[in-house]
Every structure is written in structure tokens, then in C-alpha cells.
């Protein structure tokens, strides 16, 4: 009975969030890819924090110089955060009127950004990862969304550069994230301003205290802080940025665990604001949904472990004992069950999820083969709760010294 209640709760909550985004899509579908015209060309400082990025820094800087933006209104600040490789030397070769390279002792990504914020001349700053490759119009397309002094940050449409099997799965995931981020713009509840490429109003960043150097996902934390202070964030779907994502499971697991720890750090930091309307999206959306997410995550992992343990025990008993007692194990294992309300509601929920997935793919006008979609919708999505719980566990044990950024 308890297992059934958990099962129905998980499906109900996940269906609710799917419908939440579906309703947002229905109401705003005409505005998702709307073209805007830029009205001003402010001075922009692109901050590139770099730590051991010798393999990619040259390509990143070459690409950044190709951005479609007046060069007299642009500076690129490369902050070498105590790299032990040749990042600094390679970046130094690109030094010019536009590109300035600084070296400092290792202090973490947020520390490097805060260092740059002190010297940046621009009214707007772009935080760009050292392996990000924005498209030519990415910056202009982001700036178009600063249509009110309350808009503190604009995020971009980030997708993986390469396409190995794992990267293809992340490609689908990131399309989802970008699409949902766009939808979340309308009720102003965007939950992160991703590190690969986000544009901020410098004055507001400084006003709220810059980036949190203790947080492992400073791009999520800053988005929450901006919301808590009543600022707005936007998402520019037409600002495309390619970046590199983990191509091996071990790297993926490590990156996602870091994200999970950081997300939980943020959750804990702001938990005091839960249900507080004066804290805007943080109080009324981000904290309640995160809390629900953590509960559902725990439920999913519990259910999964329960079924695995039970099914494994059942399988072992049936297999071993059938053979030892002289029966055919297949006749037991293949006996099957009957369709019931759990299966029906499960099918309806999956159909809903895949409808949303099709909607996202349709919006992007991208064809992805069914195999990858199925693997993403089943195995890949199922891994997320485990990473989340692993992150919480490590957070509780304060075991995140190994998580370098």
C-alpha cells in the first residue's frame, strides 16, 4: 500500500510539472523564438575564468573575437585561476586592445569572476566558460532582452558541441533545459543563469554582492539571489552557444554530483525564504519545487531500490529453487501479471512526458532518432535521482573537496 502511494505521488507530481510547462507553452508559444531589435550597444566585458584550459582557450578566444559586436565596445578578460598548464601563456599570445589576460592564485571559478568584476569596464558583463563557443549573434541577441532596468541577467541557448552517444543524450537534456528555461521566463522563475554564457548587468551584480565563492554552482546561486532581490531574468532562445559536455560516464557523474551538491547548498542557503512572497520566485517557486523535487527524488530512488531488491530476490529464489526442486524456472518467470491501474496511469504519464519531449524537439526543428529519445526518457532520466541523492549525501558529509571546477 505504501509503495502504491509513493508510486502514484511520483507520477502525479511529475505530471504536474509537465503540465505546468505545457500550459506555459500554450500561452506563450508565439513568443518563444520572437525576434527583437537591439536598441543600444553598451560597453560589454566578457569574463573568461580559466583553470587548466590549454586545449581549448585558443579556440575560445578566436571564436569570441568573431562575435558580431562593435569591437570598440568590447573587452575580453581572461582570468587564469592558478592553472598548472599553459593556459596563461597561450592566452597571453592573444593579448590586444580587446583581450586582457590576468593570472591569479587559485581561488575557484566564482573567485576569478569576482576578481574580474572589479576591473571590468563594461556596464554589462558576460560570464563565459573557457570552453564555450557562442554563435556570432549570441551577445547581441542576449542584450536585446535587457528591456527593463529590472532585468538583471539574460541566459542563452546552450548545447553540446560534440555528439558522442552520451553527448547526444545530454543534447536532448539541454534542449529540454533551454526550452523550460524559456518557458520559466514568463512567470519569472528561471532557476539558473548557466556558466557557459550568461549576460549580467554589472551594477546589479555588484549590488547583490557578486558571486558566492563557497557555492559549487555559482550560476544557480546567483540566479536565486537575483530573484530574492526582486530582479528579473530572461532567456534568449536565439542566442546559441556550443560548449563541451562530459563524454564519459565517470566525468558526467562527477560533474552532475558537483551540480547536485551546489544545488543543495543553494537550497539550504535560501531555505529560510520558503513560501515568503517578498522573496519572489525563490519563496514561491524555486524553493517549493526544489523541496518537492528532493522528496520525489528520494521516493524514486526508494521505489527503484525496493523493486530491484525484491525483483532480484524473487528472480534468485525462482531460478535457484525451481532448478533444485525440478521445475522449469521459465514457466514461473514468464507467468506475468495483469494490467492494472498502476500500469495504466504509468502509461498515461509516460505518454505525457514523450508528448512534451516531441514538443521540444518540434520547437527546435531537430531530428533525433527514436533510440536516443527512448534511452534518454528511460535510463538517462532515471540516473538523475541517484546523482541528486549522491550529491546530498556528499553535502551532508561535507565531502566535496575533490570537486574541482
Amino acid at each position: 500500500m505504501i509503495v502504491d502511494i509513493i508510486y502514484f505521488t511520483v507520477l502525479f507530481v511529475t505530471s504536474y510539472f509537465t503540465f505546468f510547462h505545457f500550459v506555459l507553452w500554450m500561452e506563450n508559444r508565439g513568443k518563444l523564438f520572437s525576434k527583437r531589435k537591439i536598441k543600444f550597444f553598451p560597453f560589454v566585458s566578457i569574463i573568461v575564468p580559466a583553470y587548466n584550459e590549454e586545449k581549448v582557450i585558443a579556440a575560445t578566444l578566436k571564436n569570441a573575437l568573431k562575435l558580431n559586436y562593435p569591437k570598440n565596445k568590447l573587452e575580453i578578460l581572461v582570468i587564469d585561476d592558478g592553472s598548472s598548464d599553459k593556459t596563461y601563456e597561450i592566452a597571453k599570445r592573444f593579448e590586444s586592445n580587446i583581450i586582457k589576460v590576468y593570472k591569479k592564485a587559485r581561488g575557484g571559478k566564482a573567485n576569478a569572476i569576482n576578481f574580474a568584476l572589479k576591473i571590468a569596464k563594461g556596464d554589462f558583463v558576460v560570464i563565459m566558460d573557457a570552453d564555450s563557443l557562442p554563435y556570432r549573434n549570441a551577445l547581441i541577441n542576449c542584450l536585446k532582452y535587457f528591456d527593463s532596468p529590472k532585468v538583471a541577467a539574460v541566459t542563452s541557448n546552450i548545447l553540446p558541441k560534440k555528439r558522442s552517444f552520451l553527448e547526444k543524450l545530454q543534447y536532448i537534456e539541454l534542449m529540454f533545459n533551454a526550452f523550460f528555461r524559456k518557458l520559466q521566463e514568463f512567470p519569472n522563475v528561471i532557476s539558473s543563469t548557466p556558466g557557459p554564457f550568461s549576460v549580467y548587468r554589472k551594477e546589479i551584480l555588484k549590488k547583490v554582492g557578486g558571486f558566492d565563492e563557497k557555492n559549487l554552482v555559482e550560476d544557480v546561486e546567483i540566479a536565486w539571489r537575483l530573484h530574492a532581490n526582486g530582479y528579473l531574468t530572461r532567456m534568449a532562445m536565439d542566442a546559441r552557444v556550443d560548449t563541451y559536455f562530459p563524454s564519459t560516464i565517470s566525468h558526467w557523474w562527477k560533474q552532475r554530483t558537483r551540480w547536485a551538491i551546489g544545488n543543495f547548498q543553494t537550497f539550504v542557503k535560501y531555505f529560510k525564504y520558503i513560501f515568503r512572497k517578498d522573496k519572489h520566485a525563490v519563496g514561491r517557486f524555486l524553493l517549493p519545487t526544489s523541496l518537492t523535487g528532493y522528496i520525489i527524488t528520494t521516493f524514486i530512488v526508494t521505489l527503484f531500490v525496493y523493486f530491484i531488491v525484491i525483483q532480484f530476490s524473487v528472480f534468485s529464489i525462482v531460478f535457484i529453487k525451481s532448478i533444485s526442486l525440478g521445475a522449469n524456472p521459465l514457466s514461473v518467470l514468464l507467468a506475468g501479471g495483469m494490467i492494472d491501474v498502476r500500469i495504466i496511469y504509468g502509461i498515461l504519464s509516460f505518454l505525457l512526458f514523450f508528448t512534451m519531449l516531441k514538443l521540444v524537439l518540434g520547437a527546435y526543428r531537430i531530428k533525433i532518432d527514436l533510440f536516443h529519445i527512448i534511452i534518454y526518457g528511460t535510463l538517462y532520466v532515471m540516473l538523475t535521482p541517484f546523482v541528486t541523492l549522491n550529491g546530498i549525501y556528499k553535502y551532508m558529509r561535507k565531502d566535496f573537496g575533490w570537486q574541482t571546477k
Binding site: 503540465f19 512567470p187 529464489i317 525462482v318 529453487k321 514457466s331 495483469m338
Partner: protein, 214 residues
């Protein structure tokens, strides 16, 4: 109306649709089971009348009665498997338990009839009663499924020479309690062969074949 409420309405709608389809399927299955068990009861009444007829008119219809018994055994066994799955699948129709009790009663009647028929017609077949619980954990259920598979294997080997009678012990029936008491059964699953030999706990095909020679 804000987006949070707007999203809640279709969520509840889909949830209710899922539940309603589930309830509809469960009710359909329940109706079908009731119908099937009513048909079995008719067949059963026919078999009982045939028994009474044999009592009065002699044994010339023994073959017919035996064949009827075999057919009944086969059909009701298959139906039993179905109802057992329904017990697990039906969440909103507890009435299925009553149907299960009806099924158990039919099986007991069939067992007693098989004993009577064997004595009266001097027939050479075994009766194998497989007693087990249904309100058990998935692990215990797995053990019981193994025992069912062993019994089925034995039935395949014996064919018409064995009547297989699965009986649930955890139903509220005095007759079942009496059987458990008479044979001093404390551990399930248990097997009663020819009302003489009792095996408690998981029993292998080899052990059973020492008694049941087909």
C-alpha cells in the same frame, strides 16, 4: 487563473482518467469472473447430480463422471490462476476476495468429489492438494510460485492420473481450517497426496514422484 492552477486541472484530469480506466477494467474482470464461476457452479451441480445418479443406478457411467471431473479440474485450475493474478492487480474492487472464496469452495468440493469417485468407481488416480497462502510477501509468493511450477510439472507427467487441487489456506473458511488441523499442517506451502501423505514446506518433484507414480 494563474498557471499553477491551470496546470493542476489537467493533472487531476489525467489522474482521474487513469483511475477510472483502472476501475473499469477491474469491474469488467470481476464481472467476467463472476460469470465464469457461476458457469462452473452449474457444471459442478451437474457433476454432483451425476454422482447421485451413480449412487442409485450403478457404476455404468463411471467413465463419463471421470471425464467430467478431468475437464472440470483443468478448467477451474486455469481460472484459479487468473483470479489469483486479479487479486494482486485489483486495487479498487475488494469484492474479488469473495470470488476467490467461491473458487476455493468449488475446489474443495471438487477434491471431495474426486475422493468419492475414486472409491465408488474403483479408479486409479492420485489427488494432490497444494495448500498455500495468498496474503504473503513477494518473497514468500515467489517460493509458492516455485511450488506451483513443481505441481504443474507433476501434472504434465501424470495427465489424467492425477487431480491437482490448489487450495488457499488464508481464506475465512471452516473447512480449510479443519483440513489444516486434521493433517497438522503448520508450514506452507504444503502438499497432501491421496489424503495420506503430507509434505510441508517446499517439496521437490523427486520427493513427490516417490509417492505419485504415474
Amino acid at each position: 487563473m494563474n498557471v499553477y492552477i491551470k496546470a493542476l486541472i489537467p493533472t487531476i484530469f489525467v489522474f482521474l482518467i487513469g483511475i477510472m480506466i483502472g476501475i473499469w477494467i477491474e469491474n469488467y474482470r470481476l464481472r467476467e469472473t463472476r460469470k465464469a464461476l457461476s458457469e462452473f457452479e452449474i457444471i459442478w451441480n451437474d457433476a454432483q447430480l451425476l454422482n447421485k445418479y451413480l449412487e442409485k443406478m450403478g457404476n455404468e457411467s463411471c467413465d463419463l463422471a471421470f471425464q467430467q471431473n478431468l475437464i472440470f479440474n483443468d478448467k477451474i485450475y486455469k481460472k484459479g490462476l487468473e483470479i489469483e493474478k486479479m487479486l494482486k492487480a485489483n486495487l479498487f474492487t475488494p469484492e474479488i476476495i469473495q470470488e476467490w472464496t467461491r473458487y476455493v469452495l468449488l475446489q474443495i468440493q471438487f477434491w471431495f468429489n474426486s475422493i468419492e469417485l475414486r472409491q465408488r468407481c474403483n479408479l486409479d488416480y492420485h489427488t494432490a492438494v497444494h495448500l498455500y497462502n495468498i496474503k504473503i510477501s513477494p518473497i514468500e509468493k515467489a517460493e509458492n510460485d516455485v511450488q506451483s511450477a513443481v505441481m504443474l510439472e507433476l501434472k504434465y507427467k501424470c495427465g489424467a492420473k492425477m487431480m491437482l487441487i490448489p487450495l488457499t489456506a488464508d481464506v475465512d473458511l471452516i473447512v480449510v481450517d479443519s483440513v489444516l488441523k486434521k493433517y497438522n499442517i503448520t508450514k506452507l506451502p504444503a502438499i497432501i497426496i491421496d489424503e495420506k501423505y503430507v509434505f510441508q514446506g517446499l517439496t521437490s518433484l523427486e520427493q513427490l514422484e516417490k509417492i505419485v507414480k504415474c
